[in-house]
C-alpha cells in the first residue's frame, strides 16, 4: 500500500519535475507519516511497512530496466501465491491487504503477459492501463465462496420451461387432431422420494375477488401488517361434506357463536382452471364443501374422464386458522363424545355462523346418512403401519412420550421432523419401488429418511409423520396437491406452477376431524401462520355488514376486516415513501448535478487562471470558435480553418480577431524560441472572447 502510494505520488510529481527528483520527492510524505505513525501502538506493522515502501520506491527507481525485471518477478510471485492458496489455503480474503496484494499481482501479471506475448518483450503497454484495471477490480467486492451458479441455472431452467410450456401448448392443441391424450406432470402418491427438479409449468390458474393477504394490527409495533394467504389444494378428494358436518358439530359442542367463529374461520370462494395438467382428480382447497362446474355440482373427488386444459370449477371452502389459540385450546380439549345436530339445527347454525345456506351444501338425506353411517373415529386403513419396524415405533414413542393429548402428539412429531434438512437432492426408500400409495412404501421412505439420509422434501417428511402418527395411535393420511402462497399483489389470475406441488399429512383428532400439519422444514408450520384475529374483531365492519342484511359470502367479495385502514395505510405508505425516498433522491440528484456543473466550471476557471500562456490562448480560441458556431445557428462548421471563423465574426472585431488567430497559428506551427504568446496577445484573445460573449 505504501509502495503504491509513493509510486502514485511519483507519477504525479513527474508531470512537473524530472524523474529522479520526482522519485525523491514522492517519498517526502513519508517523513510526516513517520511522526504520525511512530506512536501508533495499535498497528505496529505500519511503520516498518512504510519504511519498506520508501526503500522499495527508491531502489526500484534506480534499478536499470526495472519494468522488465518486475514483470519476471510478478510471474514468479504468481506461482508462489497459487501454490500457497491451493496447498495451504492462504489468501482467503479475510484481510483486505490480501485482496490488495492479489489485485496488484494480477495487474502486474497482465502487464507481464502483454509484454511477453503481445509486444515481443520490447515495448510494453503503459502501466497506467493496468493500474486502472487494478483500481476498478479493487472496488468490486469479492466473496469467499466460489461462484454460485444456482441462480443462473434457475434462470436457464425457467427459460427452458417457458419454451417447453409454449411447446406443450402447441402439442396440446395438436393432440386433439390426432386423438392423443395430453400428458403433463401432476404429482401424486406415486412419488418415490428420489431426487427431483422443480418445474415452472403452470398447472392451475386461480381466480378470486378476495385479497390475497390477511391484514392485522401488530401489537408490538402498533402498525397494520399483511400476511400472505396460503392455500392447500388437495387432489382426488372433492368436497368433504362429512368433514364439514363434523366440524359444525364440534363448534356447536363448544357453543361457538358467529363472533367467535370469525376469529379462526372464513368462508372463501375461488375459481379454478386446469392448465397443463392431465388428471381425473378434482383439485380444490382441502376444506372445500361446495364444488360446482358451471351450474352443476361436482360430487366426486375423482371424475370418470380426464380433465383437459381449460376445465373450470368453482369451489367454496372454509378457510381455518389452525394456529388460533382458541381453536387449539378447543382441539386439545375436544369432548369425548359429540352429538350430531339435526338437519334443521345444522341449517340454522350454519346460517347463524357464516350466513350460508346449508341446504345448498348438503341435502337432508345426505346429512342424515352421514350422521348415521359415519362411525366414530377414522377407518382402520388410516392406522395401517405395515412396514414400520420397532426402531420407528421407539422413535415415535420417544417423541410423543410427554404429550397429554393427540393434538400435542401431532405437534411434537411435526416439530421433531422440522429439524431435518430440506433437500430436493434426496433418495427414496431402500426399495426403489417404494412410494406413498401404500403404508409399506411410506414406512420404507420414512426409515431411510429418519435414520440414514436425514434430508429430503415433502414426500419424506409426510411419509415419516404419517407413519409415526399411526404408530402413536392417531389415524393419519397424506394429502396430495399443491401448496400455493399468494403474492402480496392483487391480480386477476394467480398461476399455480408445478413447483408448488406438495404432499402434507393430516391427523384425525377424535370428534374434531382431519387436521392438516406441515412438517416440511422449507415451509412455515400451520401453527406459525396465525391470522392474529380475536373475536372482538367481529364487532367491526364484518358484523355490521351482516346485521345490515349484507351477507359477505353471497358474492365472491368477502370482506377483510380492515379494508379502509389498509387503503389509508397504503396511502400513508406511499406518501411516506415519497417523502423518505423520492425527495432525498431528487434533492441528492439535483445537488450532484449542481456540484458537477460548478465543479467543471471551477476546474475550467482554475485551469485558465493557472494555465500557461499557450494553454490560455488555446482555450480562448476554442471558446471563440464555439461562440461563433453558436451565433451562426449551425451554418458554420469547423473545417479546421480559422479564416472561416474570422469571416463569420462581426466586422468591428474582425481585424483584431485575425491577429489572435495569427498568434494561434504561430504558436501551433511556428519554429524557434519566440513563438509563445505574449501577455498582451493573451489579453487580446481574452478580450475577443468576452466581446463575442456579449
Amino acid at each position: 500500500m505504501f509502495f503504491m502510494l509513493f509510486t502514485a505520488l511519483y507519477y504525479i510529481f513527474r508531470l512537473f519535475i524530472s524523474g529522479i527528483a520526482a522519485a525523491v520527492f514522492s517519498t517526502v510524505p513519508a517523513l510526516f507519516l513517520f511522526f504520525l505513525l511512530k506512536d501508533l501502538s495499535a498497528l505496529p506493522v505500519l511503520l516498518p511497512a512504510m519504511i519498506l515502501g520508501v526503500v522499495l520506491r527508491l531502489a526500484i527507481h534506480f534499478i536499470s530496466n526495472r519494468e522488465k525485471k518486475l514483470l519476471y518477478a510478478a510471474l514468479i510471485l504468481d506461482i508462489i501465491a497459487l501454490a500457497l492458496f491451493i496447498g495451504r489455503s492462504s489468501f482467503t480474503g479475510d484481510n483486505p491487504a490480501e485482496k490488495v496484494m492479489c489485485i496488484c499481482l494480477v495487474a502486474l501479471t497482465l502487464s507481464a503477459v502483454q509484454t511477453f506475448f503481445y509486444e515481443s518483450n520490447s515495448f510494453p503497454f503503459p502501466i497506467y492501463y493496468f493500474l486502472i484495471i487494478a483500481i476498478i477490480t479493487m472496488m468490486i467486492p469479492m466473496k469467499k465462496e466460489p461462484i454460485d451458479w444456482n441462480k443462473a441455472v434457475d434462470l436457464g431452467q425457467r427459460f427452458v420451461y417457458r419454451i417447453e410450456s409454449i411447446a406443450s401448448d402447441i402439442s396440446y392443441r395438436f393432440s386433439f387432431a390426432f386423438g392423443d391424450s395430453y400428458t403433463a406432470g401432476y404429482s401424486s402418491f406415486t412419488s418415490t422420494g428420489k431426487k427431483i427438479v422443480e418445474g415452472e409449468r403452470t398447472q392451475l390458474i386461480i381466480e378470486t375477488g378476495e385479497k390475497p393477504y390477511y391484514t392485522y394490527l401488530d401489537e408490538e409495533t402498533g402498525k397494520n401488517k399483511k400476511l400472505r394467504k396460503t392455500l392447500y389444494l388437495a387432489g382426488g378428494r372433492g368436497a368433504d361434506k362429512v368433514q364439514f358436518a363434523k366440524f359444525i358439530a364440534f363448534l356447536h359442542a363448544y357453543d361457538i357463536d358467529r363472533d367467535r367463529v370469525f376469529a379462526f374461520t372464513e368462508v372463501s370462494n375461488i375459481e379454478l382452471e386446469y392448465a397443463y395438467i392431465d388428471t381425473k382428480d378434482v383439485i380444490v382447497p382441502s376444506s372445500a364443501f361446495l364444488i360446482t362446474e358451471g351450474e352443476k355440482k361436482v360430487e366426486e373427488g375423482i371424475s370418470a374422464k380426464q380433465h383437459k386444459k381449460g376445465y373450470r370449477i368453482s369451489a367454496k371452502y372454509l378457510d381455518i386458522d389452525y394456529a388460533n389459540p382458541n381453536l387449539i385450546a378447543m382441539i386439545k380439549d375436544a369432548p369425548a363424545e359429540i352429538s350430531w345436530l339435526t338437519y334443521d339445527e345444522a341449517c340454522n347454525y350454519v346460517d347463524e355462523l357464516w350466513g350460508l345456506q346449508f341446504t345448498q351444501i348438503m341435502s337432508r338425506d345426505e346429512y342424515e346418512s352421514a350422521a348415521s353411517e359415519t362411525p366414530s373415529g377414522a377407518g382402520n386403513e388410516y392406522l395401517d403401519v405395515t412396514g414400520a419396524d420397532s426402531e420407528l415405533k421407539e422413535l415415535s414413542d420417544k417423541i410423543t412420550s410427554g404429550a397429554r393429548n393427540d393434538y400435542d402428539k401431532c405437534r411434537l412429531l411435526e416439530e421433531y421432523l422440522r429439524q431435518y434438512s430440506y433437500s430436493k437432492d434426496a433418495v427414496g426408500g431402500y426399495n426403489p419401488d417404494s412410494n406413498m400409495s401404500t403404508a409399506e412404501g411410506m414406512a420404507d421412505i420414512a426409515k431411510r429418511f429418519l435414520f440414514e439420509t436425514k434430508k429430503g422434501y415433502c414426500v419424506h417428511y409426510t411419509s415419516s409423520m404419517v407413519v409415526m402418527l399411526r404408530l402413536s395411535g392417531i389415524p393419519a393420511r397424506a394429502a396430495s396437491g399443491f401448496r400455493y402462497a399468494f403474492p402480496f399483489d392483487i391480480k386477476d389470475k394467480y398461476e399455480v406452477s408445478s413447483s408448488c406441488a406438495h404432499v402434507w399429512p393430516e391427523a384425525y383428532i377424535e370428534n374434531v376431524g382431519w387436521i392438516p400439519f406441515e412438517p416440511t422444514a422449507a415451509y412455515y408450520a400451520l401453527s406459525n401462520t396465525s391470522w392474529h384475529r380475536s373475536s372482538n374483531d367481529a364487532d367491526n365492519k364484518w358484523t355490521s355488514e351482516y346485521h345490515s342484511g349484507i351477507n359477505p359470502y353471497d358474492s365472491s367479495k368477502a370482506s377483510v376486516k380492515v379494508d379502509e385502514d389498509e387503503d389509508e395505510e397504503e396511502e400513508k405508505v406511499s406518501v411516506l415513501l415519497a417523502v423518505k425516498v423520492f425527495l432525498p433522491t431528487v434533492v441528492f440528484t439535483v445537488a450532484v448535478i449542481i456540484m458537477l456543473v460548478l465543479g467543471i466550471y471551477l476546474i475550467k476557471v482554475l485551469r485558465y487562471r493557472y494555465g500557461t500562456p499557450r494553454q490560455k490562448l488555446f482555450y480562448d480560441v476554442e471558446q471563440i470558435k464555439r461562440i461563433l458556431i453558436k451565433h451562426s445557428g449551425g451554418k458554420l462548421t469547423d473545417r479546421g480553418l480559422l479564416s472561416d471563423f474570422k469571416e463569420a465574426a462581426p466586422e468591428d472585431i474582425r481585424e483584431e480577431l485575425g491577429k489572435v488567430f495569427d498568434v494561434f497559428y504561430r504558436v501551433v506551427y511556428g519554429n524557434g524560441d519566440s513563438i509563445e504568446p505574449t501577455a498582451e496577445e493573451n489579453e487580446l484573445a481574452f478580450e475577443m472572447r468576452k466581446k463575442l460573449m456579449r
Binding site: 482467503t92 480474503g93 476498478i136 469467499k144 506551427y669
Partner: protein, 356 residues
C-alpha cells in the same frame, strides 16, 4: 469511427476468461476473483482508454506552399500531440495513400506518445490528382493491449490541399482546331484582325500590294494605300459541366475524373490562347462564372480560380449549368460555337460535345 474485432485476440481472451470463470467456480476469495474481475474489465477499460487517447489527440498538418501542383514534390510536416494524461501506445497512422505519396511516412506507421508529448513527422508529399481534397494523415488506429479490439478514427482536422492541374497537350489531340477556328464565335476586345479600311495614305515601303488603291493612285499619280481597320477576332465558348457529387462522397474515382476534367479544360484554354483564339469559359466556382481567356494574364486568372475549386454552392447553380448545357445542345444561340465538357458523362453522352 470503425471498430474491428480481432478474432485471434478475442479467442485467446475468451479462453482466458473461461479459465478464470472455471477457477472461480471452484475457489472463492481474491485469488480466484481478482483475475476474473480484471479479465472482465479489460474490454470496457480498453474502450474507454482508446476513446480518451483519441479525445486528447491533436494532429496539425502543413505543407510549404499554399497551392500544390500535381506531380510535384513539396515539403510536408505533421505535428502530433498527446494532450491527455494517458500515454498513447502504438497508434497506427493511416494516410491518404491513394491520393498522395508521403515518402517518409508510410501507411500504418506506428507511433507512441507519452503524457503531453508531441512529435513532428517530416516528409515529402506528392499529390496524384488535381483538385481540392484531403491529403496527408487520414486516420489513426488504436488497439487494446491484448489485441482484441481495434478502433479507427478519422482525424478531426484533415489537411485540405489545393492541387493545381497540369497544362499538357491532352486537349490538342482531341480538339480539331482548324475547324473550330473557322467557325463563328465572339469577338475579342483585345485580339483584333486587320481589314481594309477607308482612310488613304501614301505608300511606304513594306505595305502590302493588296492594300494599294489603284484608282486613287492613278488620280494622285503616286502610290496610295488603304489604312487597315482593326476588327475583333472570332472566339469560342467552353462550358464546364462539372459533376455535383457531395464532398462526403468524393472518392478516389471521383478525384481521377476531376483530375482529367481540370487538366483537359486548362490545357484547352492554354492551347486556344496560344493559338490566338479567344475562349470564353463558363464554369462553376461556387456560383456560375464566366471567364474570357485571350491573353496570358486572363489565362492565369482562370487557372488560379479553377485550381481553387470547381464546385456548386447550391443546387441552383448546378441547374444553371444544366440549363445552359441544354441550350447549347439545342443550338439556340446560333451565333456562337460551344464546346461542352462533361465531367461525368451519362449513358449516351460524350465527354466533349461541340455545338455549332
Amino acid at each position: 469511427m470503425k471498430i474491428t474485432i480481432i478474432k485471434k485476440g478475442l479467442i485467446v481472451y475468451l479462453a482466458a476468461l473461461t479459465a478464470g470463470i472455471v477457477f472461480a467456480s471452484f475457489y472463492g476469495g481474491p485469488v480466484a476473483y481478482a483475475p476474473l474481475f480484471a479479465l472482465l474489465s479489460i474490454i470496457p477499460v480498453s474502450i474507454i482508454y482508446i476513446f480518451l487517447n483519441y479525445a486528447f489527440l491533436r494532429v496539425y498538418q502543413e505543407v510549404e506552399v499554399h497551392k500544390l501542383t500535381k506531380g510535384e514534390d513539396h515539403k510536408y510536416r505533421a505535428l502530433i500531440e498527446n494532450a491527455g494524461v494517458l500515454p498513447i501506445h502504438n497508434m497506427e497512422i493511416g494516410t491518404f495513400k491513394s491520393r498522395c505519396n508521403l515518402y517518409e511516412i508510410p501507411d500504418k506507421t506506428k507511433l507512441s506518445l507519452d503524457i503531453h508529448e508531441k512529435k513532428e513527422l517530416f516528409s515529402g508529399v506528392n499529390c496524384l490528382f488535381a483538385g481540392v481534397y484531403d491529403v496527408g494523415i487520414e486516420n489513426v488506429s488504436f488497439t487494446d493491449p491484448f489485441h482484441i479490439v481495434s478502433a479507427t478514427f478519422n482525424i478531426p482536422y484533415s489537411f485540405r490541399a489545393v492541387v493545381k492541374p497540369r497544362i499538357t497537350e491532352i486537349a490538342g489531340k482531341t480538339l480539331d482546331l482548324e475547324n473550330l477556328y473557322s467557325s463563328r464565335g465572339r469577338k475579342s476586345e483585345r485580339l483584333l484582325e486587320d481589314t481594309p479600311g477607308n482612310d488613304i495614305r501614301p505608300y511606304v515601303k513594306g505595305d502590302s500590294l493588296s492594300a494599294v488603291n489603284w484608282k486613287v493612285s492613278a488620280k494622285a499619280s503616286k502610290l496610295m494605300v488603304r489604312v487597315p481597320d482593326k476588327m475583333e477576332k472570332r472566339t469560342l465558348s467552353i462550358l464546364m459541366n462539372a459533376d455535383n457529387t457531395p464532398e462526403s462522397e468524393q472518392d478516389t474515382d471521383f478525384l481521377i475524373k476531376r483530375d482529367y476534367f481540370l487538366e483537359f479544360v486548362v490545357s484547352a484554354a492554354w492551347l486556344f490562347g496560344n493559338q490566338g483564339i479567344p475562349v470564353n469559359i463558363v464554369y462553376p466556382a461556387g456560383v456560375v462564372r464566366e471567364q474570357f481567356v485571350d491573353s496570358r494574364e486572363s489565362f492565369m486568372e482562370f487557372y488560379n480560380t479553377v485550381s481553387d475549386g470547381v464546385f456548386y454552392s447550391s443546387d441552383l447553380e448546378y441547374n444553371k449549368i444544366c440549363n445552359l448545357e441544354k441550350a447549347c445542345r439545342s443550338n439556340k444561340n446560333d451565333r456562337e460555337t460551344w464546346i461542352v465538357i462533361t465531367e461525368n458523362p451519362g449513358a449516351g453522352e460524350n465527354f466533349i460535345s461541340i455545338c455549332d
